[in-house]
Point group: C2
Chain length 412, copies 2
């Protein structure tokens, strides 16, 4: 493969995670150290930064501050949810990207994101190829949702899972201090896939399992749900219930968006989210004290509970993307393959064609959902437990997290 010299761009896209910046650091550090790469640019707000000619010059950053990216949640370069057009229908954006690539002699493009981002990556890659402009394009995966196709798991998922399992264990302790009854409903992210909600089951490995878990891979039935909750409550005087934000009825409508006419007496959509809605319905049905807790976006940015394994794998995904591109690869995403070495979990890094990854969603296997559809099997625990291992030596200042502080100097 021919040696290719030129600049690179790293962009971040989609919802942030606790370790997306670890991947960015993997790209930036490796690229800064690579003789083939003449300049390293960070796109402000993903592909929008390319379109708007807003590129940060990464050589202007302090090396230590860049290293702090390993422990800094959210997308430090800025993210976007910009849906790029189909180049066969409208190639305006692509012509502009090409213009910018030429302006800065960009020969390497790394895009760090989820499903939609891999689609963007794929389209850019194919357009550059078609245009005869040599530019190697690599996807670096991330998503707390863990729904990317072709990879054993996604960077970002494990840290969110660790946050969720830890929080569920703590809520478990809190929810049984009084001898009066209590039902707790915990709402967890995941619009279409139950990976995150399933992570609540990990709390069971330290004796703090939720009683019931509902994921969006199966249809939700409110009557069955109320019967499940009531049965646990009547038996134990307590119940902890984990629900995915994406649970839906058989007709596909989200429970969170239901008009609660029959249940809360007001006949209007709830404002407080699914946990508040379900808490209200359970309260009316059982008369019990019910608490709704939404883990909210803290589950995706709670980097203080990031898994060391996740941080390292996220970093490696970025590093390997750069190394592979320099070696001649393009149009690929770095993916993870699980292997057991001497009985221990090990992550192997492989490259997948972007076309095979983009726009597919990987769901929780149905066989990992129990027969009653209100719990998760041990297969999931075996899958997820290795991923959440390890405590990073995260930098602190004043007893609080010390995040990266970048200069963000625009390239000239």
């Amino acid at each position: 493969m021919s040696k290719l010299e030129g600049a690179c761009i790293i962009g971040q896209s989609g919802g942030p995670t606790s370790v997306i910046n670890s991947s960015a650091y993997g790209v930036i550090r490796t690229a800064l150290d690579a003789p083939e790469i003449t300049n390293v640019y960070g796109a402000a707000h993903g592909i929008k930064g390319v379109l708007n000619d807003q590129l940060y010059d990464m050589s202007q950053e302090d090396a230590k501050e860049l290293e702090y990216l390993l422990y800094t949640p959210s997308s430090e370069l800025g993210s976007c949810r910009y849906k790029i057009a189909d180049p066969d229908k409208d190639d305006t954006d692509y012509q502009r990207i090409l213009e910018i690539f030429k302006k800065y002699n960009v020969r390497y493009f790394f895009y760090n994101g989820g499903n939609d981002s891999m689609d963007t990556c794929d389209k850019v890659s194919r357009f550059m190829s078609k245009s005869g402009y040599e530019c190697r394009v690599m996807g670096v995966p991330k998503t707390i949702d863990n729904d990317l196709f072709g990879t054993d798991h996604c960077p970002g998922y494990a840290s969110a899972a660790k946050y969720i399992a830890t929080s569920c264990a703590e809520i478990y302790k809190d929810a049984r201090v009084y001898d009066t009854g209590m039902i707790t409903v915990i709402e967890i992210m995941g619009r279409h896939a139950g990976w995150l909600t399933a992570a609540a089951a990990l709390a069971g490995t330290v004796g703090c399992a939720p009683d019931l878990i509902y994921v969006p891979e199966v249809d939700f039935d409110m009557d069955k749900f109320l019967a499940d909750v009531t049965a646990v409550y009547e038996k134990n005087g307590k119940a902890i219930v984990a629900v995915s934000e994406g649970i839906h009825y058989a007709d596909g409508s989200f429970v969170s968006e239901a008009k609660a006419s029959a249940t809360d007496g007001f006949g209007h959509a709830q404002l407080g989210g699914l946990a508040a809605l379900l808490a209200n319905i359970i309260k009316e049905k059982t008369g019990a004290k019910v608490r709704g807790i939404e883990l909210s976006l803290l589950q995706r940015c709670g980097a203080h509970l990031a898994s060391k394994t996740d941080i390292e794998e996220a970093f490696n995904a970025g590093k390997i993307a750069v190394e592979s591109a320099i070696a001649g690869e393009t149009g690929k995403m770095v993916a993870f393959q699980r292997e057991m070495v001497d009985g221990k979990y090990n992550c192997k890094y492989v490259l997948l064609p972007l076309t095979s990854v983009a726009n597919y969603e990987k769901k929780l296997p149905l066989e990992w959902i129990n027969e009653a559809q209100n719990g998760i099997t041990a297969d999931f625990i075996d899958y997820a437990l290795p991923l959440i291992q390890g405590e990073p030596d995260r930098p602190l200042e004043n007893g609080l997290p010390r995040f990266a502080r970048l200069n963000k100097v625009l390239a000239k």
Copy 2:
């Protein structure tokens, strides 16, 4: 002071904290090691466990499991919110407590809780004294609310503050990834005092300060609030707002309980709590994307972020209660005095009469609230920062918190 031999009871009461069990461990460990104390009993669900003759024999517990109490959130012995009668009006409960004390030869009673618990403690102490039954009664403080009178701060507060500040810093990072506008409202506990909400300001020491902070020490004005938020949003395109759950209008009514007739068009109480209510009102006013986040009870049970300083002080409070009682003290609460030793924060432990503590609430000093009543001054930072220092070496299992697992064997 005469030497007093006999059994002791430790009870926990009120809302749990991340370190209330550290105090319980301070009492239990010290009492188990004290030759004057013949038996150590843990009351199941506070004073209710005494009334119901449900006492756990602490000598039946594994020493290592007891030590795990240092890192186990929530009230491991069980808590209660039982309001004991005025003994001058109805002494039924007190006669029963005396009966149980006599049955087990209880000569030491340690009660671990907040305002109401200190009141219970005080009443029990005075009744025993009046009855001529020698029993030394000591209060061990705890409350995340930090509103106990006579002590510089309360065990439990610092860990909650650390959780709040860390979470606010992480939300700060998450709330600025997109270049589209975003307003985030963070709801923090504290019905009557703003100590917890003020802790959001600590995030400013790592460059992640909320823009606006509202505490219940001053009246809330919705029009001024909306003007404040809009001004920040118009200037920065982003706004992070921390509000106490206890903010109230000038007439004393809680904002969270307001009928939102004029604002949301439905004319009914909101179900989703204050954050959802305010998010909705702001959205209607500004048209911005607004997110409401309730830190929920995780702020009181998030022991994975406990402050080492807090754990140590909580343990010492329990230890000193036992040592002081053995030395002859009774009717006192262990309190904290701040002192500077060689320019460094140090906690000095003192004893206060329970009568001087019970039923008073300590508010955030008004001079620590800025003139615009939408922020917190540097005096608060100086006060709170030393308290959140230190990371405990918390025990883990499977990458998740390893909490104490007690046998809870009932005393015969």
